[in-house]
């Protein structure tokens, strides 16, 4: 699968995750968010930027518990909760936020 934005074609997997991490930019993120029905506010960008930074450093998406802990450290306790993350990304931080951040699809079992 793929989508086109401003004349450039972006390759994605079956679920719409970017295949090439380097394709990512804020415009692309905005486009994916729109497809997901997510209205990107500053709070949304905080999560996406954290995910990208983390991925660049560790080459893996953070576990949810780490995401929550780090959010708490950086932005305070009311932002360091699972409920808060689901408010921003109703389909879940792993699914939706990672997709918008251009990270590969999180693998998970049952």
């Amino acid at each position: 699968m793929s989508f086109e934005l401003n004349g450039k074609v972006y390759e994605t997997d079956d679920d719409g995750y970017l295949v090439n991490l380097d394709d990512w930019n804020e415009e692309v993120a905005g486009y994916i968010a729109q497809q997901e029905g997510v209205d990107m506010t500053e709070a949304h960008w905080e999560v996406v930027n954290f995910l990208r930074d983390y991925y660049q450093e560790y080459k893996i998406a953070p576990m949810i518990k780490i995401l929550i802990k780090e959010m708490k450290k950086m932005f305070g306790p009311e932002k360091g909760s699972n409920a808060y993350l689901y408010q921003l990304y109703p389909a879940g931080p792993a699914l939706q936020a990672c997709k918008i951040a251009g990270l590969p699809k999180p693998t998970g079992c049952v």
Partner: protein, 397 residues
Amino acid sequence: MSDELKTPLLDELEKGAWPSFVTDLKSMAGKSNMVKDLLRQLEKSYRDKRGYWKHGGLVGVMGYGGGVIGRYSALPDEFPGVSHFHTLRINQTSGWFYTSKALNELMDIWDEHGSGLLNMHGSTGDLVFLGTVSDELEPTFRAVTEKGWDLGGSGSDLRTPSCCVGPARCENACFDTMALTYNITHKYQDELHRPMFNYKYKIKMSGCPNDCTAAIARSDMGVIGIWKDDIRVNQAEFANYVDSGFNVQEFVVEKCPTKCISVEGKEIKIDNSNCVKCMHCINTMPKALAVGKDRGVAITLGAKAPIVEGALFGSVMVPFMKMEPPFEEFHDLLGRIWEFWDEYGKNRERIGEFIVRIGLATFIEGIGLDPIPQMVKQPRDNPYIFFEEYYKEEEEK
């Protein structure tokens, strides 16, 4: 593809003495193409000796990270009816009490939105809706929540708490299993619906050591009713058992695992200080014997199935805790356990594996419990914990 359904191999499964799921599925194949293709795919699996399900797939409903298990057929062109076949876990009622009206409503919803196949109740406790397509997940969720139901847990979250029928029907119940289940289901909604643990965390409540939910083997945290005082004895009823010709010596006295029962004439004596509360004598002579009056629970931690690491039984962490609303002592303990596991546990490491890895001594220190002899003495043949110091202390007494 022909519309006819030929399943010679599956048909074999209908021949035995037991009710067969094949018969059930066939009875529904007429009105559901999903069920028809399910049978076809299963028949092919039996013939080819391999499964044709793809694993995983991230599906869910908005606002929740758990409750839906995504499944796709590996042969969607051949079996379009099961190209998606997602499972929804519906949070069951405590004690499994339903009105027929409620059941009818649920079945109508599922006939409309899914395959119509139900599984009540699986090992998780949930009422399981088997098989629907991605586009029907939100509508199903909406329909069940409108009727007051909710999804259960799946993935790395608090799994749907589950309990035995307890005091609603059973005289052995040492605490209100249904009240505790209801309480924690409501208190921990976030943990139940939005996975954030290292891995799954199952809590099961059994009213007495008969452990009808198999909490000791199947839950990360087993909450099992227990009493501290003496087994209650009705000597007149005991005498009736003897008079009726019941072989008390063979079936009760000799079967007591700690040999703490003796009989003189028509009178039973129990050395309660040596009773390990196995329930055998009470189960065998329910009219004469009953659980004590000073009741609470024992809490076990760490049981799990053999997947990833080997199977584990739960070990006693708390030999006795009073268990009455508002259950604050329990919430408190659970909070400390989750915090410690969260901080030091690894991804996909169950609490039992975590305890084995870091050692019981470190673990109980981490959750703020004092070591006590019962932690190793029950179960006495516990295969993997040896707490030398405390063994010695016991022996010296």
